[in-house]
Subunit: 482 residues, 2 copies
């Protein structure tokens, strides 16, 4: 069968198709492009000009050179699970999809590193090495489908980042296509602390605005000998919050320390993985410790003691691995579980000093009342990374706007106690204006100056990450009318 | 007594003195400036124009503005313990000494952070909080006198960085005076994962070329409940190296894993803190584990087993805290101990994948023979951070040059096996040319472009960190004639 031909007269589509090897590696019909009009931040939608599927770094470089030469805006996209709109083509970008660059290129157990292509799915890495006793630590809730390239762009976190750090702490090297098409390698050999400026840190978490990552060297860890998980129920938010602080103060560094509040519990119990949380409880904590077996029991006993001192209603360790797995499934599918109790929801992502937890949760309650919208909280309590989930119904006039404003007010509450506006989801288009809660004009300019030198024509993922007064206003209006 | 008056007609000296509050806060006579003509890298010397001692951020900002307006080159200096020449005024800089900005501004145990001024001495922080059960992790061997500001500039490491990471992993926020005098705050509230570009990571380790740090928020850690240290002697380098890999492969993450070779042992035993190492041994390992008491003994037993399998001649745990302390004093004063067996020495700082340890140690032996200079090795074996110490006598014609070349050859050997040219000492003026061992021209330009936007007039610590062909040749010639 002869390959299908391109059915368009658009010379850019024809030329881009030629770079990636033909019609099977490009989408350009409107009905195909609809699947790419947003990512995990679904409130704002825009059609790309085209979606191309390169298979190697050279093709990425050529696409980028072509777009630059022809002043076509472009951006890279992984699995599209990002929650802040970083992969939304707000300028009708050419989307460079990385999903065909999905190989595990090498595993070096002796030096504890692996090299992957950006489209390689996060959980696949752990699955590929777990039989040998190793794993990859960053575990965003979307890890079963999100790509490591996307994780690098957003500096993704996860439940176990309390002990093990976020993505940037596990990236040893990157191959990057710069916006002019040049290919550079950073941390070529997986050496963490390279001389010169920390380009590795700069590009990790830059939300796809400085370059396109085409190869990633990650650190892999020895799987802990043993793990144990505790569930603890509290009748008062204050007691649960204080238990969080007490555990850390006791010198324990849990692998994870998660909290869900009453509305969140209602959601997860109504969804796919209920575990029988009491419905009248204010707070549930999920606390995991890991390490060598000899130390686990002592730590678990200390945790049980702390919880008892803080008036826990019920607390217990998982009876077996199967129960532990169910508890985690209940937690990790928590965002989606909101669909069981609300037509729509907006997840926010603020960070606060741990000691401010009770204050800020009270403030979020007030915001909920003020906007007349329920707000659930499912979050990484141990590192103060809040996830208020604003529940709303897009069919009710004005509720999208109210949810966005309530979400923004939650972030303001975080910033006001010395926190910040994103822990792991990124800024994208969602939180551009909120950047002003934490940065002065000078501080924003110091950053946009950096974008300028990497990306002087502003063709790569433009309009993301930083407030751009004119453009933001425009987008806010588009939102209201879309 | 009336304050002394400035005895010079140099208007810049007079104006700078006025900014910092008079004659007691500035040095400008040649005999005073001699103390500032080099830092811990003593091979190359240059007099500064003046040394000023600001007491607060505002004064730093005004000095910087004055220097910028008058095109006077300037740089910041802490305790001057840096080993790569980062604080040497190669352009006759105005040195901004941070030693009067040395306050511990606040300690927040609940949220595990402290705020210090840049001139605050590293070890003072741990000393200030240890009674409450906390400490500051990065522990360069110079920690009893080096400043945290200098540690930030060089991204300093230390013996315990294997488990706890280098300085950049412990910095939560910075106040920075930019080269135009503007003051910015990054990570204002000690939140690790700020939105936007990672300026915190970019400035940490930028060797004083992007701005002057005037306030630092650091992470403090709970002191481990328990520590134990093991000494292990091996007759063969290969066995000692393999034991290092085996310990890590066993899933143990030691707090520290240090190695010294035969020549190093000769040095430390001849110096201030001998501990009775056998003189005929090829390798000694110093292995420390820490954590909750319950797990320590099991880990120590595993380590003893690994060592026995690798033909250890003798291995034992410290009998008590006093013995442990002596072992560490023996190791931590190791560089200086070279003075007991050689008139001069040059310390190098390469990093290699752990698995390449035996290869590279062999190669260093060959380099030693080739140049006719003894090379001792005292280093952080666990993270592959080598410190070849080239022993020489500056009085012998040509030996400085030979030592420099032998040091450079050691770094080349590291780069050639996929390593890099500095783990913790920085590039400074010492390793500028060696940057080419690990970076292409494009990669160096990507970095110098960043310096350009922060530092467009190149007045701040110019001529450091990157190869500058013309200038480097010039300095090499100065070296030969000085």
């Amino acid at each position: 069968m002869a390959p299908k031909k391109i059915k368009t007269n658009d010379k850019h589509i024809i030329n881009l198709a030629a770079i990636v090897g033909g019609v099977k590696s490009i989408l350009y019909h409107q009905e195909d492009l609809l699947a790419y009009d947003c990512d995990g931040f679904t409130i704002h939608k825009h059609l790309p000009k085209a979606v191309v599927f390169p298979r190697n770094t050279k093709e990425v470089s050529e696409i980028v050179k072509y777009c630059s030469a022809n002043k076509l805006p472009f951006l890279a996209r992984g699995a599209g699970t990002g929650l802040s709109g970083g992969a939304i083509p707000v300028n009708g970008e050419v989307i460079i999809s990385m999903v065909r660059m999905k190989r595990l290129l090498s595993v070096d157990l002796e030096n504890r590193r692996a090299i992957v292509e950006p489209g390689f799915v996060n959980l696949m890495l752990t699955n590929s090495i777990s039989a040998k006793g190793y794993y990859y630590a960053p575990d965003p809730s979307s890890q079963y489908c999100c790509t490591i390239g996307g994780n690098v762009a957003e500096n993704a976190g996860g439940a176990h980042c309390l002990k093990y750090g976020v993505t940037t702490n596990h990236i040893l090297g990157l191959e990057v296509v710069l916006p002019n098409g040049e290919i550079i390698e950073i941390g070529k050999n997986g050496i963490v602390d390279e001389p010169g400026y920390d380009l590795l840190g700069l590009i990790t978490g830059s939300e796809g605005t400085l370059g396109i990552v085409t190869k990633i060297t990650v650190r892999i860890l020895k799987s802990p000998e043993s793990k144990q998980t505790v569930l603890a129920y509290f009748d008062k938010v204050e007691d649960g919050s204080q238990a969080v602080s007490d555990i850390i103060s006791a010198g324990i560094v849990p692998a994870a320390l998660e909290m869900m509040d009453k509305i969140a519990i209602e959601g997860v119990e109504a969804a796919a993985f209920p575990v029988g949380h009491p419905k009248d409880i204010e707070v549930v904590l999920l606390i995991e410790v890991d390490g060598i077996s000899a130390g686990i029991e002592e730590q678990i006993n200390q945790i049980l003691d702390v919880c008892k001192k803080r008036n826990v209603r019920d607390v217990r360790a998982a009876r077996n691995e199967e129960e532990r797995g169910r508890w985690w499934a209940n937690r990790k599918t928590g965002f989606g579980a909101m669909g069981a109790i609300s037509p729509d929801y907006l997840v926010q992502d603020g960070v606060i000093p741990r000691s401010k937890l009770p204050n800020v949760l009270r403030k979020i309650n007030q915001i909920s009342e003020e906007y007349g919208l329920r707000i659930a909280n499912i979050f990484h309590a141990g590192d103060g990374n809040l996830h208020p989930l604003v529940l709303f119904d897009a069919k009710n006039p004005g509720e999208i706007e109210a949810a966005l404003e309530a979400g923004s007010a939650c972030l303001k509450a975080c910033a006001d106690v010395g926190g910040t506006i994103t822990g792991e989801h990124g800024v994208g288009i969602e939180k551009r204006e909120e950047m002003r809660f934490v940065f002065s004009d000078e501080e924003i300019i110091a950053q946009t100056n950096i974008r300028e030198i990497f990306n002087p024509d502003n063709l790569l993922n433009a309009g993301k990450l930083f407030p751009i007064p004119g453009r933001c206003v425009e987008i806010k209006q588009e939102m209201k009318t879309s």
